[in-house]
């Protein structure tokens, strides 16, 4: 038999828990509002892939102490309409845009001024911590070795899987010296990517959290780990150092190989079905015509 008790209602229990949490947390940081779980989730979803809090620049700037750099109103406006603010010619926004190498911050879907405020609360709270949970991936500064280059090459070509199960670079990108018929052509050629992203730091930032519309959703759920990022960085820098501009054009080799393979398959079919029907009467007539022509040529 069920007893209708107070604790029986989950909704009520959650409400009580939220009130209790608020009351308990309030004395610890008196000036700072406590952001909700919802705000944290939103930061995870929308911001984390391009921004760290105290972890250094990724594609977007490090957000630690951003509230001290810009006003809350400016920041809310930027979060809601990043492209509009950048394009309006705002000096600070322009500078950030340049630092991001011309990557616009995407307009967050379903963003409201209230949520933007809550996100800024998250940033404020996390900035005040010694080490934020959004400090991002910490890459070691160790020198890159030949072994890193070799491993990077294997990772790039998919010979070694990423620990997270993320797809290999090779499936969408190619570069000089990729081998075989080259890699995929969906993404850009990566031969000179190290120069485009201005070296190790830029490369590592991109690889830690790829921001492009195609890569972001894939690598957000299966990010690369620090050692993998380092290895790939080493490989890409090594490729750029070789001096090549773009990957060799493998399309002719691909075409010829395709034709060769098709011919091989036809030959195989011919062998397998060598007992098949071929014309009966026409060859008899042809044979006779050849014989007669030979006879006429002789006389």
């Amino acid at each position: 038999m069920r007893q209708p008790t107070l604790g029986g209602s989950p909704w009520l229990a959650a409400l009580l828990a939220a009130i209790a949490t608020t009351l308990l947390a309030a004395p610890a940081s008196a000036q700072l509002p406590v952001p909700s779980e919802e705000a944290y989730a939103s930061f995870e979803l929308n911001c984390k892939s391009c921004h760290t809090i105290g972890g250094g620049k990724l594609t977007g700037p490090d957000l630690k102490g951003v509230l001290e750099r810009r006003s809350r109103e400016w920041l809310v406006e930027f979060i809601l309409h990043p492209k509009a603010v950048i394009d309006s010619g705002d000096a600070y926004a322009q500078e950030m845009f340049r630092e991001a190498r011309g990557v616009y911050m995407p307009d967050p879907v379903g963003m409201t001024p209230e949520m933007a405020g809550k996100l800024l609360d998250v940033v404020a709270v996390e900035s005040s911590l010694e080490k934020s949970r959004f400090a991002g991936l910490q890459l070691s500064d160790r020198p890159l070795t030949e072994a890193d280059v070799a491993r990077g090459r294997r990772l790039f070509r998919g010979e070694e899987s990423f620990a997270s199960g993320a797809p290999a670079c090779f499936s969408c990108h190619t570069l000089a010296g990729a081998g075989g018929f080259g890699g995929g052509t969906l993404g850009p050629d990566l031969t000179a990517v190290s120069a485009r992203l201005e070296g190790r730091k830029g490369l590592a930032a991109w690889l830690s959290a790829p921001p492009s519309a195609v890569m972001a959703p894939v690598y957000r759920v299966a990010p690369l780990d620090g050692e993998e990022v380092l290895a790939l960085t080493a490989f890409l820098e090594d490729t750029a150092a070789s001096g090549a501009e773009v990957a060799e054009d493998g399309s002719l080799a691909f075409l010829l190989s395709g034709l060769g393979l098709a011919a091989l398959v036809l030959v195989l079919l011919d062998v397998v079905w060598r007992g098949r029907y071929v014309a009966t009467r026409a060859p008899l007539v042809r044979k006779r015509l050849v014989a007669r022509r030979a006879l006429e040529a002789r006389s």
Partner: protein, 496 residues
Amino acid sequence: MDVRSQTALVFHLDKCIGCHTCSIACKNIWTDRKGTEYMWWNNVETKPGTGYPTKWEDQEHYKGGWELHDGKLRLKSTGRGRIIPNIFHNPSMPAMDDYYEPWTYKYDELFNAPEGDDQPTARPVSMVTGEPIDIEAGPNWDDDLGGSPVYAENDPNLDELTPELRQQMFEIERMAFFYLPRICNHCLNPSCVASCPSGALYKRGEDGVVLLNQERCRAWRSCVSACPYKKTYYNWSTGKSEKCILCFPRLESGQAPACFHSCVGRIRYLGNVLYDADKLVECASRPDLELVDAQREMILDPHDPAVVEAAKANGVPDSIIESAQLSPVYRFVKEWKLALPLHVEFRTFPMLFYVPPLMPVIANKDAGPVRNETEDLFSDIERARVPIRYLARLFAAGNEGKVRAALRKQYAVRLWRRHVTVGDVDEETARRALTEAECSPEEADAIYRLTALASMDERCVVPPAQREMAVEVLDDPLSFKQSTGFGFRAAPARGQ
């Protein structure tokens, strides 16, 4: 003993003049519909020749009939190992060019052409596409050895002849040929029936006529490749296969099939024989040289009381047994051993038998004008222009003795009748020939009578159809009795 009745046929090749009347009679009745223009359920071939469709006898090419595999009978065309990789493309299917592309002429151009310097001509047009065509082949393109360097020289039956014999056959002034009319053999062991994946083909119980159910046919065309005689045809218009039905509507009303009825040379004989179906598998598995005897062994003597009793016990009606006792086929095949099956090595046991033709002997033109080496044109069967070995390949699976016996008996009958009616052959010679051919004067007279004098009713003893009994199984005939008579073709309109 499982005694059954089979409607069997004999074609007497010594009498065939190659007029194609049979083919035309058949074509006009059965195959002048769209999609059947190329079919000749009855066709007449010139031998030596490649026939219709081209080289149909070459089973290495067309994979028809049965073969012995570890002593067991097996279809040459299909088997699980062969059919599955080829399920969407049968590699042994004859194409249209192997038959021929049927055509007609634009006759109206003869009448409607504008006046000009030249005679108007009727252009040939394909009956398949309707487009003008260049005629390259026809169903009897090599008639009377026409185009023999292409056709006759490639006759598969010539393969075993020595080069000298081959050359001799095609020498000018020595050439010889004969005609081979062909229809469906309504085989005892039909490979077309065995090959059909849809079960559309069946051998009719009461008379052994092989029929193809148009409603069950699913256009697999397995029968086309499996029939070694290439006597099932695919109708490209209806998408069903068709074959000779031995004019069963005529048979059921007591008439001979159209090709029999129209035969000018009266070469065709029809009658039922009783056979023992239990022996079929064992007989069809014998070595090639024994097959003629094996088939004869299956055919039972309808006068033997034991056979009659077994037939009755098996439900064969008395009228059918009586008809078998009158059958000319039984006499030609079993009693006289004159008629032989065509290509019995295909192991389908064809129930159409041929009396091999007596051919003129070799002539010699070395010294001046052509002269025959002997006075009597048909004297020496060993020196006939068409070698016995060739005939043996056609009619006895290579067993020359069977052909020689049949020819010798025909020759003896000629001598005997020459002695009786003309008198220029003395009795001693005639009797010696009969003895050599193991034939009595009475038998010779009987052969002469059935060969030369027999009436239509003697040549074609159509077994009385038992359709009324078959109908009673399904329907009550009396229920129709009251519904026939006067009536309206269209319902009358009243009360308007």
